[in-house]
Structure formats: structure tokens, C-alpha cells
């Protein structure tokens, strides 16, 4: 197990290097010249040159990369290049909890919804419940998230008035209030993920339920509930767990639509805002953090396979 971890850590470091280089190179993809962004238009060329010099933009690429990476590793992601010139790490640290919470809550809800639905579907595959659940899943998947978000807001916030529509309360201020405000946006995220998880898990469950060991469990007198929960779920959950990891990483940076609909100060809003104003240090810093989280999440998922299946534990040693 120790060697596995070491090997994984090495791979991880390589991936992170590549990712960080990609992030660093993002700046050259931004359409505007950083110096123009900082000073505004209509200055003397010498002034622009001075700013570029100051930022080190005239240094060779490898030098700039190593400089930037060195600072990033020590936690210095630089300052925003547009007013109010705030510290990038501070801004990311403020936005990240919002996105992580939304993603975790949304995925948690999706699991709570999809596991029973998938079991019900798979146990009577081809039956009426299965057909209704499958059709609904496709239906939900085909609704774009901004539309789903608007519908959820219309029903639960405007019509029923059960939940607030916008505003964010930090966990540190009040957990109850925080959850109350996070519920609707998390629900919007959960909808599509639920549909996805249900489809994947249902199919894997159907395959598992045809295994001999399921028949053997049945022949021992185990109940359908016991067989589904204790025998079939774990061996069927690999695809879903993989998908869960991908979704978690993806959602942290891409809940922009939901953040926008609910006016939430998350990572998506931060990155989009920064990109629009040409705030390249902010984009670099935020994207790097998202990438690191993505890579770490997927490492966790990889390790979880060993927990899910004892055969994999041994195969790695």
C-alpha cells in the first residue's frame, strides 16, 4: 500500500506540473495585453514597456514559469492586476468554500436520490417503475441547467416561497441558515447528476444482479433488500464512483450558471469576472487551485477502488 501511494504521488506531481504549465500559458491566450489592462488605454509606449518590465513579462518563458511556480508553491498567487488589486489567494479562499459546498451538497443529494432509484429500477428491470425512472432521467438530462434552475426558483422560491432565492450565508455565520440558502442551488446541481448517476448505477446493478453470487445469496434466504444493499451495491458502484470524482472536480469550477442564477460568490463567478476584466493573475490563480483540487479528488477516487474491491488492494501491492 505504501509503495502504491508513493507511485501515485509521483504521478500526481507530474500531472500537477503539466497542469500548472497549462495554467501559466493561459495568460498568453487572453486577448488583451496585461500592460494595457493595468494602465488603461492611451498611454505612452514607454509606460507600457515599463509595466511589462516590472511584471517580468519580457523575461524568457521558462524563467517566468519557474518564478510563478515558485511563488505559487509557497502560497503566493500574486495580486489582482485590476482594481481593487486584492490578493488572489484571499479572493480564491473566499470563493472556494461556496463552490465546494455547492458541489458536495449537490452530489450528496444526487447520491441520496439516485441510489434508491437505481435499485428500484434495476431490481425490476423493464418493469413500469424502471421505464418511468429511465424516461424521467433522460428528460432531466435534456433540460439545460439554466432552465432547470429557473424552474426550481419559480416553483420553490417564487410560488411556494419555501426557500430564499438569492443571497449567501457563510457556514461560519450560521450553519442552519447556510444550508437553508444553499439548498435550492444544490438541488439544481443535483438534478442532472441524479439522472446521470441513476442511469450508470442502474446498468451496473443489472449486470451484477445476474451474477452467481446474487443467486447464491438468494438461495441462502437473504431478502431482496439485503441482496441489493449488501451484495449488489458495492460491486456495482465503480462507474458511479468514478463519475462522482469527475463531477466533483468539474462542478467546483463550473457551477457558473447556478452561481449566476442564485447570485452566489463562488469560483465560477470569480473566474468569469476575472476573465472579462483581463485579470490574468486572478484567472491563473483560480484555475490552478481548481486543477489541484481536481487532481487530488481523482487520486482519492483511485484509492477508494481499493476500499470498494479487495481484489484491487492486492493487485497494487
Amino acid at each position: 500500500m505504501g509503495r502504491t501511494l508513493l507511485k501515485r504521488a509521483g504521478e500526481l506531481a507530474a500531472v500537477l506540473l503539466i497542469v500548472s504549465f497549462g495554467t501559466f500559458m493561459l495568460v498568453s491566450l487572453l486577448p488583451n495585453d496585461p500592460a494595457v489592462v493595468i494602465l488603461g488605454e492611451g498611454r505612452e509606449p514607454a509606460e507600457y514597456a515599463a509595466v511589462r518590465e516590472d511584471l517580468g513579462l519580457d523575461d524568457p518563458l521558462p524563467v517566468r514559469y519557474v518564478d510563478w511556480l515558485g511563488s505559487a508553491v509557497t502560497g503566493d498567487l500574486g495580486e489582482s492586476v485590476v482594481p481593487p488589486y486584492s490578493d488572489v489567494l484571499d479572493r480564491v479562499a473566499a470563493a472556494l468554500p461556496v463552490s465546494v459546498e455547492l458541489a458536495v451538497l449537490g452530489l450528496g443529494m444526487a447520491l441520496v436520490f439516485s441510489i434508491p432509484l437505481a435499485m428500484w429500477s434495476a431490481y425490476r428491470a423493464g418493469g413500469r417503475a424502471d421505464r418511468i425512472i429511465s424516461a424521467s432521467a433522460f428528460g432531466v438530462l435534456s433540460v439545460p441547467s439554466f432552465l432547470a434552475g429557473l424552474l426550481v426558483i419559480m416553483v420553490f422560491a417564487n410560488q411556494l416561497g419555501w426557500f430564499p432565492r438569492a443571497q449567501w450565508v457563510r457556514i461560519s455565520d450560521s450553519l442552519g441558515d447556510n444550508l437553508y440558502h444553499a439548498f435550492l442551488p444544490a438541488l439544481v446541481i443535483a438534478l442532472a447528476e441524479t439522472a446521470l448517476f441513476t442511469r450508470i448505477l442502474r446498468n451496473d446493478l443489472i449486470t451484477t444482479l445476474q451474477e452467481d453470487f446474487i443467486l447464491a445469496a438468494k438461495a441462502k434466504g437473504m431478502s431482496a433488500r439485503h441482496i441489493l444493499l449488501s451484495d449488489a451495491l458495492r460491486p456495482s458502484s465503480f462507474s458511479m464512483v468514478t463519475l462522482l470524482g469527475i463531477s466533483l472536480g468539474r462542478l467546483i469550477g463550473s457551477t457558473v450558471i447556478v452561481e449566476y442564477l442564485f447570485a452566489l460568490p463562488g469560483m465560477g463567478s470569480l473566474v468569469i469576472g476575472a476573465a472579462n476584466t483581463g485579470d490574468f493573475t486572478m484567472v491563473q490563480g483560480a484555475v490552478l487551485v481548481i486543477a489541484v483540487i481536481y487532481v487530488l479528488t481523482n487520486l482519492l477516487i483511485d484509492l477508494s477502488y481499493g476500499v470498494l474491491d479487495p481484489r484491487i488492494r492486492r493487485a497494487h501491492v
Binding site: D212, G221, S230, P310
Partner: protein, 348 residues
């Protein structure tokens, strides 16, 4: 069905009530291409401590028979089952779901063909055994663990305590099959259905497993239904043998009688196909030409007729019924066959 009477007469000769009574059992499987009569009117009884060997080619309906008897197959959208199965006096196909769950793993245990797939790869050996003990006997965790260790000991697994904490993949095939047997025997069932229990194992391990089943039968007194495609496995292990062909019993008799004086040409052909030690080397093994019939539209008369070397025109007219064999003019209630032109007819 008149053919069942000869077989059912045995019931009166059994000491005590039989553990298993199968009466005119039929399993029809509905497939998109048509209905398959996988089990077509099978009747027999099995007493305590008795072993019945069910022998037939792949696709003869042996496994379906086993699972239908067990009640794992029930009438529903995909199949229709008629006839009756009594296990320990309980009408299997009339039981409620809850009663069936008490029966499975309680009165009747099942051993599966492939020990590589019959154990859940993500569950420890111990859990496989304890969950059944806790369900059927209401044992607590510690009691169940202790009993599970005893069971492993019973099936000849050394260091049972350590094995309980291992996963199936850490055990050899033979060991796994021992675990599967321990699972089936956890609650000392009256009937054990062993569906090809040795097919996936090495020959030496096969013998060990069959010896084990025999010893356990002596110790626990259960009835065993031993399903195999291999007459050699059944020979010497079964008290009685039923040869199945295309969903029906072609011939059934005491094991010794069946091997000595087979009357059905199919039984004869199967016996000829067994490799024997005294055979001269490099001689082609006898084989039965052709394949079992398409069960969606089986032959009208005797289902073996298209492959039978003794077939006559009357064979394809109507199916022969399972009737008692005559020994010196007297019907032998323990030996019956379904054939118009039996072999060894005068040979007793």
C-alpha cells in the same frame, strides 16, 4: 400422467416421509423467439440420506430443474411452472416470499457450479456464512462467527478462524467450493441441491469435493440431488440416477442397474462415451452424433429419435412414456425408461 405412477409408487416403500417429492413438474420459459419447455413432466421422490444423480447433456434442462425445484424459478412474465414440488412437506410453489426465504438456506441448500463466481468478491468468507446463520438461527455476531468457524472445520478447511477474515480471491478454487458447500449446509438442510458442484474443479479436487459431500451426507443425513453432465461423477456417488434428455427423464434406475443394464439407447450412448482406463490407447472415444433438439420446436415423437441408432418409424409418431422395466416378466418399480425399442431388453 400414467408414466408418473410407476415412479410415485416408490413413495410407499420409503421409510418415513420423503424429503423431496416432484410431481409432473414442467417449466416453460418464454423467450422472444418462442416458448421453451425446459422441464417437461418430471416426477420423482427422494428420501432422507438418499442421493439422486441427474445426468444429461448441456441444455437438457438439469439446471432449470434444480432451480425450479428450489423455487428460484417461479411463474411470472418470463416463465410458467406447473406441477408440484414438496420439500420437507412444503409445497414450494405455493409458499409466500417470506416462507420461501425461510426454506432457502433453511430446509434446502444449493451448491453452485463455479466457486469463482458463487462467492461475492467484496465480502469476507466469514460474512458469507454468518449472514445466513444470523437470519435463520437468530444468532448474534459472536455466536455466528464461532459457528461459521465450525462449519469451515466441518468442510475440511484448515485454520478456519483465519479463513473467516479472508476474501474469496485469497482462496483456491477447491477451498472456495468448500466454502460454498459450508454456506449451503449452514443450517443443516434436509435437502442439498448440488448443481455441477465439481465441473469447474481439477480432477483431484473433484474427488475431494465429492468425498466431502458423501461424508457430510453420512453425518447430517440430508438428501442430495447431484446434477452433473458427467456420468462418471454420478457413478458410485448416487443411489439412483435419472438420465435427462430434452427436458424429460429418458431412464431412471438404481445406479448399479442403470450402469449394468441400461435400456434407453441414450443411456447406452452416454455410457459408451465415458473414457475408461482399460480401453486401448489411441482409440477414438465414442460420441453421440448431432446436438440436443431445438427446444422451441422439439421433435414430435421421441426427442432422441433423430440421433438414435435404433430409431424406427414409430419413434417419431408419438412420445414414448416412462414405464417400468420388466425383470423376468415382473415390473421393476425402481427402473423405468421411455423407449419403444429398448436395448438389453432380454438381458437380465
Amino acid at each position: 400422467m400414467s408414466s408418473t405412477s410407476a415412479v410415485l409408487q416408490e413413495r410407499s416403500t420409503e421409510p418415513g416421509a420423503p424429503v423431496l417429492v416432484v410431481d409432473d413438474l414442467r417449466t416453460q420459459i418464454h423467450t422472444p423467439r418462442g416458448d421453451v419447455q425446459a422441464v417437461d413432466g418430471i416426477s420423482f421422490t427422494l428420501g432422507r440420506g438418499e442421493t439422486l444423480g441427474i445426468v444429461g447433456e448441456s441444455g437438457s434442462g438439469k439446471s432449470v430443474l434444480g432451480r425450479t425445484i428450489m423455487g428460484l424459478y417461479t411463474t411470472g412474465p418470463t416463465m410458467t411452472i406447473t406441477g408440484r414440488v414438496l420439500i420437507a412437506g412444503k409445497d414450494v410453489h405455493a409458499l409466500s416470499t417470506t416462507a420461501l426465504r425461510d426454506l432457502w438456506g433453511g430446509d434446502v441448500g444449493m451448491v453452485f457450479q463455479d466457486p469463482m463466481t458463487a462467492l461475492n468478491p467484496v465480502k469476507k468468507v466469514g460474512v458469507h456464512l454468518t449472514e445466513s446463520l444470523r437470519k435463520h438461527r437468530g444468532m448474534n455476531r459472536a455466536q455466528a462467527a464461532a459457528h461459521a468457524a465450525e462449519l469451515l472445520n466441518l468442510v475440511g478447511i484448515p485454520e478456519p478462524r483465519r479463513r473467516l477474515d479472508q476474501y474469496p480471491h485469497e482462496l483456491s478454487g477447491g477451498m472456495r467450493q468448500r466454502v460454498v458447500i459450508a454456506m449451503a449446509l449452514a443450517n443443516e438442510p434436509a435437502l442439498l441441491i448440488a448443481d455441477e458442484p465439481t465441473t469447474a474443479l481439477d480432477v483431484t479436487v473433484q474427488k475431494q469435493i465429492l468425498d466431502l459431500l458423501e461424508r457430510l451426507q453420512d453425518e447430517l443425513g440430508m438428501a442430495i440431488m447431484l446434477i452433473s453432465h458427467n456420468l462418471g461423477v454420478v457413478a458410485g456417488r448416487a443411489d439412483r440416477v435419472a438420465v435427462m434428455y430434452a427436458g424429460r427423464v429418458a431412464e431412471t434406475a438404481d445406479a448399479a442397474t442403470l450402469f449394468d443394464v441400461p435400456h434407453h439407447p441414450y443411456t447406452e450412448a452416454l455410457l459408451e462415451a465415458i473414457p475408461r482406463l482399460h480401453q486401448p490407447p489411441h482409440v477414438r472415444l465414442a460420441a453421440i452424433d448431432g446436438a440436443p433438439p431445438n427446444m422451441i420446436a422439439p421433435p414430435v415423437g421421441c426427442r432422441f429419435a433423430p440421433r438414435c441408432r435404433y430409431a424406427q418409424p414409430d419413434c417419431t409418431a408419438a412420445p414414448p412414456v416412462l414405464d417400468a422395466a420388466l425383470v423376468r416378466g415382473v415390473a421393476d418399480p425402481r427402473h423405468s425408461f421411455a423407449c419403444y425399442h429398448p436395448v438389453n431388453a432380454g438381458g437380465q
